[in-house]
């Protein structure tokens, strides 16, 4: 049970301030070459400073914190789309990120085609997706809409489709970033239920949210990130209480 599947060992992530300097495009860059180069080298933004933590197998791990403190950077490091500047990130297992609304979908394609597209993007083979496609369609409750182009879908329907795909990918490590806010209450409940089912079947989950109630409902442990470092890490209720206290004070 206590085998760590995600290990952050003294991880720091620094972003060069690209947008500040490259916004002017290649024309401005070439015109002010020496200045531009030195400013890229000197101005940096520290998104995470020396954080270390472990997520254990079969655990539901919550991450809370205010906007812009490094929650999403942490998730991106786990997903392997970012590399740390210092320290080590070790991940053991296949990662399924639950994408934000509509990401990875193509508007002109039908819901059915998009299920295949999304599944393959997540790392499954086409045969594996096709084996599960009926189950996915049933779960999504999209009925006849499944053969309509996704551009005709409402926001809630897109969220359903996205969650349904991920829910049937047999994820080993599931990353969830604030995606449950859309969709009607009924579907949100279904998502939470699915997450609870995942929990029982032993899927490791990392859940980023602003919603303390949601975190309390499903997480085993919670990490509170503040000011680009770990403010508190431990038992869900302890962390949630302290976080609530700070929120009400400020």
């Amino acid at each position: 049970m206590n085998e760590p599947v995600i290990i952050f060992d003294n991880v720091s992530k620094v972003y060069p301030m690209y947008h500040q300097h490259l916004r002017g495009g290649i024309k401005n860059f070439m015109l002010n070459l020496p200045k531009a180069i030195s400013s890229i080298k000197n101005s940096r933004f520290e998104a995470l400073k020396n954080i270390s933590f472990e997520v254990y197998k079969k655990e539901t791990f919550g991450i809370i914190g205010r906007n812009g403190v490094g929650k999403s950077t942490t998730l991106s490091l786990i997903a392997g789309v970012l590399r740390p500047n210092k320290g080590k990130v070790i991940v053991k297992g296949r990662i399924s990120p639950l994408l934000e609304l509509g990401a990875g979908f193509h508007w002109e394609l039908s819901g059915r085609d998009n299920i295949v597209l999304n599944g393959v993007l997540m790392g499954l083979t086409r045969a594996e997706v096709l084996r599960k496609i009926d189950e996915i369609i049933e779960f999504s409750e999209l009925l006849d809409f499944i053969d309509q182009p996704v551009r005709t879908y409402s926001t809630g329907m897109i969220a359903r489709l996205g969650f349904s795909v991920v829910a049937h990918l047999d994820p080993e490590i599931l990353l969830i970033d604030e995606v449950l806010a859309v969709g009607d209450i009924g579907f949100q409940e279904k998502c939470i239920d699915t997450m609870k089912r995942f929990k029982k079947s032993g899927v490791t989950m990392v859940f980023v949210s602003h919603s303390v109630p949601d975190i309390v409902r499903i997480c085993d442990r919670v990490m509170w990130i503040d000011d680009h470092g770990i403010k508190m890490l431990g038992n869900t209720n302890d962390v949630a209480d302290s976080y609530r206290n700070v929120l009400t004070k400020s």
Partner: protein, 259 residues
């Protein structure tokens, strides 16, 4: 480091599914879509025919055929290259930010799509040959695949360069469309090499696209390939591919940082 644990089979399926997607979007599942996509080079051929043959009265036999033979390969080149800077932006941006998959699959699929499209337009060239009472040469059997590979490699390399760099310098797109105008008129597409004043003819060799286009036209019109141009264009495409691969390797892990 999170390892990329994708199997070969997933990689292959990813390419197939993405190409299917492109085809569905491009051709909209019907013949009309196909007609639209060959309309562009045909429209250009008409315009140049009127401008140069009817108005300026260029001395050339079968000028429409000559135009078609050059404009179709050009169309492939220009479509892919113009499309490249935006590849990692738009609808692909959010996936790159969240999912760890080989990003070079996006340019690869785009170039494959345009390659398939070019192959599908070869019958149109054939049709024009027949209209002018000519027959395709037996040398097409090896010539077409050979030139296809060279052009594929060249475009894929260019695409890797432009799509990667455009994430950091978002005005690449404008620069590219400007450059493409030069490339078009400095490549012997609407005129033959022989019409270039002799003292300037050697300059053709510095245009990476020129040797390739010259060979396409030789192949389609006369069934011949110029071996010097062939080697030259192959060399150019290998250079583009290697430079593209290098730039991509150097920048790809930063893509999610700048999106």
């Amino acid at each position: 480091m999170a390892k990329n644990m994708r199997s070969f089979e997933n990689y292959k399926d990813l390419i197939i599914v993405l190409i299917q997607k492109e085809m569905k979007v491009m051709y909209g599942n019907n013949v009309l879509g196909y007609l639209w996509s060959i309309a562009n080079p045909l429209a250009f051929a008409t315009v140049f025919f009127i401008a140069f043959k009817v108005v300026m009265r260029i001395e050339m036999e079968n000028y429409p055929l000559f135009l078609i033979a050059g404009l179709f390969p050009w169309q492939w080149f220009s479509h892919s290259v113009n499309f490249s800077p935006m590849l990692f932006l738009g609808e692909n941006g959010p996936i790159i930010k969240k999912v760890n998959f080989p990003r070079n699959i996006i340019p690869l699929v785009m170039v494959l799509r345009d390659t398939i499209h070019f192959i599908l337009s070869i019958p149109v060239i054939l049709l024009f040959l027949l209209i002018y009472h000519k027959l395709p040469s037996i040398s097409w059997i090896y010539g077409v695949p050979l030139l296809l590979c060279i052009q594929f490699l060249m475009i894929y390399g260019i695409s890797l360069i432009l799509s990667s760099i455009n994430l950091f310098f978002r005005d690449m797109e404008k620069l590219v469309s400007l450059l493409m105008t030069f490339v078009f008129y400095f490549t012997p597409i609407i005129y033959p090499v022989s019409m270039i004043p002799e003292k300037y003819q050697y300059l053709i060799n510095f245009n990476p696209l020129a040797p390739l286009i010259i060979n396409w036209k030789n192949l389609f019109l006369h069934g011949t390939l110029d071996s010097v141009y062939l080697v030259l264009s192959l060399a150019y495409s290998i250079v583009f591919f290697m430079v593209g691969h290098l730039i991509y390797k150097k920048l790809s892990w930063r893509f999610a940082e700048v999106l």
